[in-house]
């Protein structure tokens, strides 16, 4: 429900004109922001104001604005996707903030996610990790009837819970080591839990982990900041499974890897 009392806010936003340019924080005052606005709608308002004063609008990635595409990606007061649990930046609403607040807005910070401009980063490293093995090798037309292989409901639900990852990169941004373990574990778990993923199980995990290391993501030291930041509530138990899968692949698997 709309409220007549708007919020007055101070924004400190990271501005960086290009990948190799120097960046800095700039301060903007916002007046009378409706608590019903989403966080990104608040930035839309800012951008309209900037255009009127001939300053270039703030660049930030977004698309679906309903928490599923994984495009939005802001550090808000030092927290990936802001203060709400299980919530993407685009689903965060201004009613979460109070009149007079100062809000610091930065891009994801990780060597593997270089800044493109202002708050937008390059997350192609994630695509390259999936390319290394995040799939089942089945050509179109080869599939048997979908009900030939029953999958226990418990497994299916665990697999789905891992598959829910939206590929946003908040786990990396939240981690002091910029580790991508939660992201990688989500895909490895999804497929390791299903019979369809079985034949390539060892090859998948070894190749994905090798690519992850090559991209320059850090190691995991079990601080679980990733889980706390993850909008899709991907559980760190998947990281344990990833470790088991990896061990199994390098130690006991007979599958050629």
């Amino acid at each position: 429900m709309s409220s007549s009392r708007g919020l007055n806010l101070t924004l400190k936003i990271w501005r960086q004109p290009g990948p190799n340019a120097r960046g800095e924080f700039r301060t903007y005052e916002m007046k009378n922001i409706s608590p019903d606005m989403s966080f990104l709608e608040m930035l839309d308002v800012l951008n309209e104001q900037l255009i009127q004063t001939s300053e270039e609008p703030v660049a930030f990635d977004h698309d679906c604005r309903e928490g599923i595409c994984g495009m939005c990606s802001l550090m808000i007061n030092g927290q990936a996707h802001g203060p709400d649990r299980a919530t993407t930046t685009c689903q965060l609403h201004m009613r979460r903030f109070s009149d007079g607040d100062t809000i610091v807005i930065e891009p994801w910070r990780a060597n593997a996610f270089p800044v493109i401009r202002d708050l937008a980063t390059d997350r192609a490293a994630f695509d390259r990790i999936i390319t290394a093995g995040g799939y089942v090798s089945v050509n179109t037309g080869n599939a048997q009837d979908a009900n030939c292989l029953p999958v226990g409901r418990d497994r299916q639900e665990k697999s789905m819970a891992a598959a829910a990852c939206i590929g946003c990169g908040a786990c990396v941004a939240a981690c002091k080591n910029a580790s991508a373990m939660l992201f990688v574990s989500a895909k490895v778990s999804q497929l390791a839990l299903l019979p369809q993923g079985e034949p390539e199980r060892a090859r998948r995990v070894t190749r994905m982990v090798a690519q992850m290391d090559k991209e320059g993501f850090g190691g995991c030291t079990n601080t679980y900041e990733c889980e706390a930041a993850c909008p899709a509530e991907v559980s760190v138990s998947n990281i344990a499974r990833l470790n088991r899968e990896y061990l199994r692949a390098v130690v006991v698997s007979e599958e050629g890897v």
Partner: protein, 654 residues
């Protein structure tokens, strides 16, 4: 755009190439008649796929598996973020796993009827018959569809059907299907058969000797213009719902790729067939940047109502059943809350127009789960719809477990699109169009859970067969990057960007987009009439004129510039919107999502005019490529024949 339009009936430019005879064997016979490219030759062909949603990703992966070299393009930073990711409710398939009377024939019948008899029967039958293969394919890829305790696949029901044939993965079906297609695509990237071009926006089509041979894209990170040539171009660029500004589509959804192709000669069919989804979260204020869908699956368990007394000031829970009007159940006994979308949307609008709306704006109706929660318990409801309820709570700050949701219709899907024949080829040889971007299978109204089905049918099971015929039967000499037609298209795209940046006016792109959306929604939304549409045509032309004289686009063309991207898309919407309105004006009947107030029954239901409008309206642009004059749109008609599902008035009452 007025009286000047010439009308060609059964135009020779519109060869549907749909087979005739027994409908159940048409696709098989057609596949046999198509020429094949032999396996060793496939690697000699280069195919350009624009769009990596369900349609584009499935097509790119399947074509690469066959051996073709594929280049895949999207404007997001990753193919996995295409708007298909947002689909919630599910995907239809005639598996009849529920043993409740489903069949390919019934899915075909429901889709033709649901589309209000404005789709091509041959296409719809093919869609229904490959639907079952889609589920098999997705499961094999590791898509974790919902299952029953025995481990077999579960189904739910959706609007417009009386059987349960919808497969789903929580409320995230589109996400899981897209990630499946994306994984197949990335596997081909790994194998070197697909080259990926993310953060690229297609700005023009390259035609050589009247055949589609490539595209011009802008690299959105560096601002560079690139030309890519090949032997066929596939557009799978999604729908144009954002011409209304507010819609359930992602912010980047646009008509640019289709529209640029239209201006190069591809006919645009039925642009006025747009779908308004009945269950969306209502607008909360002027800052609103998009609307959020609450999946249609909610109508399985939620009951739609308004107070019987328009001045009832009690909160929803205090209003007893006797004082509630469950208007869908009352008006449509047989389908109740599960009537098709167009019917449900108009009923909600009618209730609000008559003053029965609820909430602060009075532009909402209740969707109430009280009875289901009482019957099945909150845990069961949470299991089925948990993420949707959570989304609702995040956006509105209200708890739908204890207070009914407030919902209102919003623009959601576009049935119109580039005209394609049975092979999915547009009127430009070598240019194909798949998924929501084409017009082919849903007629005047799409049934829930059928868009995902169509996108994947097109990509996995239709285009891999039909494209071979073009490649095997056409002369396709190699095109170099300095071919005059390539250079010309690149220069035209560059000039447009320079022009946009050079205007330096005083009004923002966003404000033009909002203004256009307001005209479209008010005059060409859920209900349309002649006076309103004529007014809208003039208003859009005036707004377009102002845009090209007074828009302020910030920054430069040589950098990441979202304001410039938006400007290009709005410029195209400002042309396309006029065609949409003109199509609505020309179609003097009501059918499916197109409701002309002049054409309704006494009970306010849509009244079709089969004598004069049983056709697809395909518009040809004959004006200059750089400017737009609505008068240069010529209408061609593809007559539609219904041999298998007989033309009747749709009724969801008994």
């Amino acid at each position: 755009m007025s009286s000047a339009t010439a009308i060609n009936s059964g135009s020779s430019r519109l060869q549907s190439n749909a087979p005739t005879g027994d409908i159940t064997t048409r696709w098989d016979r057609h596949k046999f008649d198509l020429k094949l490219v032999n396996p060793a030759n496939k690697r000699k062909f280069n195919i350009i796929v624009v769009g990596t949603g369900l349609a584009g990703a499935s097509a790119a992966a399947s074509l690469a598996e066959l051996g073709y070299n594929v280049k895949a393009f999207c404007f997001q930073d990753s193919p996995r973020r295409a708007h298909s990711i947002a689909a919630q409710g599910g995907i239809n398939a005639a598996k009849n796993y529920c043993n409740d009377g489903d069949s390919v024939w019934r899915l075909f019948y429901d889709t033709v009827k649901g589309g209000d008899f404005r789709a091509r029967e041959s296409n719809v039958y093919r869609l229904a018959s490959v639907s079952t293969n889609i589920i098999d394919q997705c499961v094999a890829q590791g898509v974790p569809f919902q299952r029953d305790y025995g481990g077999l696949l579960a189904n739910r029901s959706f609007g417009g059907a009386q059987v349960s044939r919808t497969f789903y993965a929580r409320g995230q079906t589109g996400q899981q299907l897209l990630l499946g297609a994306y994984s197949a695509l990335m596997r081909q990237v790994d194998l070197g058969k697909v080259k990926l071009f993310a953060r690229r926006e297609m700005l023009d089509l390259i035609k050589v000797d009247d055949v589609a041979r490539g595209i011009v894209v802008r690299n959105l990170v560096t601002g560079e213009f690139e030309s890519h040539t090949g032997d066929a171009v596939l557009l799978a660029t999604g729908g144009y719902g954002n011409v209304f500004y507010l819609s359930t589509n992602a912010k980047g959804c646009n008509v640019t790729a289709s529209w640029r192709c239209h201006k190069r000669g591809a006919f645009f069919a039925n642009p006025c067939f747009t779908q308004i989804h009945p269950t969306c979260i209502p607008v909360s204020g002027d800052h609103q940047s998009k609307l959020t869908l609450m999946s249609e699956s909610l109508r399985n368990d939620g009951r739609v109502w308004v107070p019987k007394n328009p001045n009832d000031s009690r909160s929803a829970n205090e209003i007893p059943d006797d004082d509630r009007d469950y208007f869908l159940e009352r008006r449509y006994a047989a389908f109740g809350n599960l009537v098709p979308r167009d019917v449900a949307s108009r009923a909600a609008k009618k209730a609000c127009d008559e003053g029965f709306g609820v909430g602060e704006t009075k532009l909402a109706v209740y969707l109430d789960f009280r009875d289901t929660i009482k019957r099945d318990g909150a845990a069961v409801v949470k299991g089925k719809y948990g993420n949707l309820f959570q989304m609702y709570a995040k956006i509105t700050g209200e708890d739908p477990y204890s207070t009914p949701m407030r919902i209102y219709p919003a623009v959601h899907y576009t049935m119109g699109g580039l005209w394609v024949d049975y092979n999915l080829q547009t009127t430009i040889p070598g240019l194909y169009c798949l998924g929501e971007a084409n017009f082919s299978d849903h007629g005047a109204n799409r049934l829930g859970a059928s868009a995902l089905m169509q996108g994947l049918a097109d990509g996995y099971f239709v285009i891999p067969y039909t494209i071979g015929h073009h490649l095997a039967t056409s002369k396709l000499p190699k095109i170099s990057d300095d071919h005059p037609d390539v250079r010309g298209a690149v220069e035209a795209a560059k000039a447009r960007v320079t022009k946009l940046l050079g205007i330096q006016g005083s009004r923002s792109v966003e404000s033009f987009h909002r203004a256009l959306g307001k005209i479209m929604w008010e005059k060409c939304g859920m209900a349309r009439n002649e006076a309103g549409l004529k007014y809208a045509e003039q208003e859009i032309a005036a707004l377009r004129h102002e845009f090209w004289n007074n828009v302020r686009v910030m920054g430069t063309g040589e950098a990441f510039n979202q304001n410039l991207e938006h400007a290009g898309r709005v410029a195209d919407f400002l042309e396309f919107g006029e065609l949409l309105v003109h199509d609505a004006l020309t179609r003097e009947e009501s059918c499916g999502g197109h409701f002309r107030e002049e054409h309704q029954t006494e009970e306010s239901e849509a009244k079709r005019n089969d004598a004069d409008f049983c056709h697809a309206a395909a518009w040809e642009y004959t004006g200059g490529h750089d400017s737009f004059t609505g008068e240069k749109e010529q209408l061609h008609k593809e007559p539609l024949e219904f041999e298998n599902v007989h033309l009747t008035t749709r009724s969801y009452r008994e």
